[in-house]
Subunit: 328 residues, 2 copies
């Protein structure tokens, strides 16, 4: 039995706690917030026996093996360091750091401490994505030519908000643009040879919309985009020489559709899970911790490093440096 | 009454002739082919009173006002020149030339001869596209941020075929890639400030798949792609600050869906036309010729010049020069 704590009590923490009832060999034993009232309310709502009115107290709780970090991404580095220093394994929300330097610092400490660390790329564990991977491995779509994905939603512009404030590492890329990147990096493991990007900026200089093209050394092209200025049809497509796979709302997928060019009927995989789907990543962490592993084989830190290296490159191309990076 | 002839008897000529029964104030009086048997069969099938066993004979028929050119695109220049020299107005299949120089030559002769000339960008005249334009004009989606479109289908590789043979100006861009370009240029009239492209090539060096990004000077970004290596969901999307328009199978659209961010129900425009939709472009030509115009206001030659200038630029970026251009 792996014992979990949750650090942070926002929307995604609530959803994660709801989905936790489906996690195997694991128990949610504590929650920590910066305020006692928030921690207590969260614990009552989700029937968690212990609550802590500071993040540090949570990380000092000797009953906890793993902490799920659900805070905004500018806090991921400091929250993860705190957990690791206090000998807790970590599942950290996306992006695990705001740049590759932050990730490298976290990776180094996790290795020194021999602790498990993983970025919460929950999409990778969803059954429709796993089914799509299996179809590709079985040769169902031949060789992959092209990957298409986008993620966009309409946010109201507020220069102080998380999404638009550069002090909070705002912008579309780190918030939603990581998902199309992750999808393309799930289906090509080859090095990225070329990246081209176009972007629209908010008055605060963070990115509202990005279009980014990738060329992998195995010849796969990726046509990706993201936005916080407009909603999109957020479907993912894997196009191959013999067919293609369509994943509606790929980032939270419940379905995958295989179409082959041999004229056979499309194959539809439907996942009737009751959960949103956060339980699968928690299962992975639990299994890995029980097996004494320090990384996930599905979302290893090297994969997170690819995500962040690419986002660093894209931000460099569009001239987006966060204030915390300038002083660094 | 405007009297029409058809030059060429391939698949699109057959479809055009079928749709011609819906064209107003026009009569299809003759067809011309390189062989008598083909011309006669076409005339019989479509109940056309006159057939000609050469293109030249067709263009010399004094009963004809306008000729629709349906030949492969490497022949468009020579076929159009022949028509114009013999004082026929022309509706020419897409692309009207294989590069901007060919178009400029055709434009010059059409103006000298005071004859009507238009590229057969039939998509522009389809009711769902006209409805989408009207929605944008009414402010229904606010200011446009981004346009997304792609057109892909799976062709079997044959180095001698029209699609893969460089001598026939093969490749995805000229065959299907013009449609996403045309969609983006229907919704932004601003100059293109930047173009970025990635491409996969066939062994014959023509493009199998292209991803191309545009930035217009009005700030609109376009995320476009095309392929003859795989089929895609060929939908077009116009994203604005207040909502978006989704046009399923935009190139032959029968529907347009308006979604606004004010929470109102989506508005669905459905076109129940019986025709494929080629009659609308023929109506435009007929109206224009009857009005004594030399160009269409919907698809003027300046618009065709934008399509070809952009395709020239993309081909330059991906290193695709056709043999006929090297000798020129």
């Amino acid at each position: 039995m792996v014992k979990w704590g949750i650090l942070g009590t926002g929307k995604i923490a609530r959803q994660f706690a709801e989905d936790f009832r489906f996690v195997k060999d694991a128990e949610l034993v504590a929650v920590g917030s910066r305020t006692e009232v928030s921690a207590r309310q969260f614990a009552e709502t989700h029937q968690i026996k212990t609550y802590h009115s500071s993040y540090e107290q949570l990380t000092l709780n000797p009953d906890i093996d793993v902490i799920y970090i659900s805070t905004p991404h500018t806090l991921h580095r400091e929250n993860t360091l705190l957990c690791l220093e206090n000998n807790k394994s970590v599942l950290c929300e996306k992006p695990i750091g705001i740049n590759v330097h932050e990730l490298d610092e976290l990776t180094q400490l996790a290795r020194e401490k021999q602790l498990f660390l993983m970025e919460a790329m929950w999409t990778y564990f969803l059954p429709p994505l796993q089914r799509a991977k299996a179809w590709v491995a079985e040769g169902a779509i031949g060789e992959i030519n092209m990957i298409k994905a986008n993620f966009g939603f309409k946010a109201n512009y507020d220069p102080q908000s998380r999404l638009f404030n550069p002090d909070l590492a705002g912008g579309a890329l780190l918030d939603v643009g990581i998902y199309p990147i992750a999808l393309s990096l799930l289906f090509s493991n080859a090095p990225i040879e070329d990246v081209q990007v176009m972007s629209s900026k908010a008055p605060t200089n963070v990115d509202i919309t990005d279009i980014y093209q990738l060329r992998f050394s195995d010849g796969i092209l990726a046509d990706l985009s993201c936005s916080v200025g407009h909603s999109m049809l957020n479907d993912g497509f894997i196009y191959g020489t013999k067919g293609h796979i369509h994943i509606p709302n790929f980032w939270k997928a419940r379905k995958a559709i295989l179409t082959q060019y041999d004229g056979s009927e499309p194959v539809i995989f439907e996942d009737s899970r009751e959960s949103i789907g956060y339980n699968f990543e928690a299962d992975e962490v639990t299994r890995s911790v029980l097996a004494g592993k320090m990384e996930s084989e599905v979302v290893p830190l090297s994969k997170s490093r690819e995500f962040l290296s690419l986002m660093d490159k894209i931000r460099n191309d569009i001239g987006l440096v966060y204030p915390s990076e300038k002083s660094a």
